[in-house]
């Protein structure tokens, strides 16, 4: 098994179709196959053990992914927002490496031993101009296809391992070959180092659906590109959808009417955003895909039918499913387990655990966290309802334990977000001598609306138990998010610790 199988079939079945579009430049499947071969030659000739990319989306991404697969080395998409020190730590983990990056960075890395740095434009030009590689690719399914350094919202980044057999089995299990029509086009605006970007790439290539890349996201650029390329499918993270909804509410003429399918995932989708989005894109099918880097992407899906049924229902049990991440894919089993590893009944919260062919659960240099029964603990907290819909409640690590009572920050955040003064908020546990941990919140207020910590505390105490009312509330202009829209709770805790020690020392 090798990702190259998918590209070879695509090139054979519909080689003249356009595979990828970037800022007007088009690459057909047959051309991508040849370019991947030339890139594989360059990677192999460099002696590199990994092929990495440190850049925004470009044609270098699909060429690099398949070139690495052909050359038999892992592909490593890196976060282009990393600091020099963070990047150096990652390079040390993957050298000797062939690295595709922007021209300035390639020049800066010229002297660094252990890294062959190539500018993206040169890499693409050489690959497109090269001749097809004669060497075969390895079909050893256990070979590593992709290394993804996870966003590390708690602790330093570690590399999730995706082997060829995981990715290929995922694609073959969820995508029909060449099923896309020639008019179909998928707009990909998530960065290359996000697992969804890798998954969309592989599945689009196998289905024959043109990929339209948006290297740098803004809601206006997204809508503009969607109209120009007549995009039919799009994948966004929740913060992107929130921005798109804001722009459309201000400028209805910015609409991109051809979008049949809008898929999202990668973070919690606020109920208000999805409700507004469904009204602004009435002809679109919405799909929420929940998955993790360690599981080669999608585990559960809230289908378009699920969205419509929930939005239209008077039954609160059905309506609340709009905030769920849907039900497991046929090839996936989900269990919610308590601390002893026993399965929880519907409605009871625990840790979400998953079993399936595509589950890797493996980190480089560490033992796989897949248990002996094949279940992988996701570190996500959540519950199932009676029909098997999965509800997420944040990370297990973020659970606040106050006086022996477990509290999910998400539950308290949802209540705070219902207060008219609150635009955004983050709830975390802070050390407390009396309770072990105390509930603290950082709140972003809506402009011009008054609120004090006391009024917000009372508001929470009325809706939930008083033990859940934040003992401390700090106000800020904005909250810390990473590139893919994930709230950085570690940062929030650091802010609170700083603010506290600042006051304590006076």
């Amino acid at each position: 098994m090798n990702l190259m199988m998918l590209l070879e079939m695509a090139a054979s079945g519909f080689g003249d179709r356009v595979a990828v579009v970037n800022e007007g430049e088009r690459l057909a499947y047959a051309d991508l196959l040849r370019a991947a071969g030339a890139a594989a030659d360059a990677i192999a000739a460099s002696g590199a053990k990994h092929a990495a990319i440190l850049d925004v989306s470009s044609l270098a991404l699909p060429i690099g992914l398949f070139g690495a697969a052909w050359a038999g080395v892992p592909f490593v998409p890196l976060n282009y927002r990393l600091t020099g020190a963070e990047l150096e730590r990652l390079l040390a983990q993957i050298e000797p490496a062939y690295l595709v990056t922007d021209a300035a960075r390639a020049r800066a890395l010229r002297e660094r031993a252990g890294v062959v740095a190539v500018a993206r434009e040169d890499f693409v030009a050489q690959a497109r101009g090269g001749s097809a590689r004669s060497a075969e690719w390895s079909m050893e399914g256990d070979d590593i296809a992709v290394l993804l350094f996870t966003s590390g919202t708690t602790g330093p980044p570690k590399a999730a391992v995706l082997r060829h057999r995981h990715l290929v089995s995922y694609i073959l299990g969820s995508v029909e070959f060449g099923a896309a029509s020639e008019e179909d086009a998928a707009l990909v605006s998530v960065p290359p180092y996000h697992v969804a970007g890798m998954a969309v790439l592989a599945s689009s290539i196998y289905s024959g659906r043109r990929i339209v890349q948006l290297p740098s996201f803004s809601a206006e650029a997204w809508l503009d590109l969607a109209r120009r390329e007549r995009v039919s499918h799009a994948f966004v993270v929740p913060t992107m959808l929130a921005r798109i909804v804001e722009v459309l509410e201000r400028e209805p003429r910015a609409r991109a009417p051809g979008i049949r399918s809008l898929s999202y995932g990668g973070g919690k989708m606020p109920l208000a955003v999805i409700e507004r989005a469904m009204r602004l894109f009435p002809e679109s099918d919405f799909t929420n895909a929940y998955g993790l880097t360690e599981t080669s992407s999608t585990l559960t899906v809230l289908t378009p039918e699920d969205h419509r049924a929930a939005a239209a229902s008077d039954d609160p049990a059905v309506r609340r499913r709009l905030a769920s991440v849907g039900r497991p894919l046929p090839s996936v089993e989900i269990e919610v387990r308590d601390e002893e590893g026993r399965a929880c009944p519907p409605g009871v919260s625990g840790e979400i655990c998953v079993r399936g062919e595509q589950v890797s659960g493996e980190y480089l240099g560490k033992t796989s966290r897949v248990g002996s029964d094949g279940f992988f603990p996701t570190r996500d907290a959540g519950s199932l309802d009676a029909e098997g819909y999965v509800f997420l409640e944040g990370r297990i690590d973020d659970i606040i334990v106050r006086g022996g009572e477990n509290m999910s920050p998400g539950e308290i955040e949802d209540v705070l977000l219902g207060h008219p003064a609150v635009a955004d908020c983050a709830v975390v546990g802070v050390p407390d001598e009396e309770w072990g941990e105390a509930v603290a919140a950082v709140v972003v207020r809506k402009p011009g609306v008054e609120a004090t910590p006391e009024t917000l505390r009372e508001f929470v105490a009325r809706e939930l138990r008083s033990s859940r009312a934040p003992a401390r509330i700090e106000f800020r202009e904005e909250l810390p998010y990473n590139e893919t829209g994930k709230l950085l709770r570690r940062e929030v805790r650091a802010w609170l610790a700083e603010a506290k020690s600042g006051r304590d020392s006076r």
Partner: protein, 102 residues
């Protein structure tokens, strides 16, 4: 031949190649174009031809299953022969609408 999920086999008499997606745990007389199929690395004997009774051909990307549905072969390279177990032809698997999550 004992098949294994993820392995590939090819036709001895045409260009068909398939990948095994699913297989029962048994020795199967898997054929293409009327002739027993070979593991992908093996050289096909010269002079073979596609039997008329198994000549509808295979199409790239299509899945072929037996009546019980326990055997599933994905065609990775098309050819003139048809897939079968013994003399019983495999049928095209219906493309079920899969969740459009990506």
């Amino acid at each position: 031949m004992k098949l294994k999920a993820g392995s590939r086999v090819k036709s001895a008499v045409c260009t068909t190649e398939v990948m095994v997606i699913q297989t029962p745990d048994a020795d199967l007389d898997v054929r293409c174009g009327g002739a027993p199929m070979l593991p992908i690395g093996e050289q096909a004997p010269a002079g073979g031809s596609v039997a008329a009774s198994a000549s509808a051909g295979t199409q790239i990307g299509k899945r072929y299953v037996n009546a019980e549905g326990k055997l599933e072969l994905l065609c990775t390279k098309p050819g003139k022969g048809s897939l079968a177990i013994g003399d019983t032809l495999l049928v095209l698997k219906e493309a079920k609408p899969l969740p459009a999550s990506d």
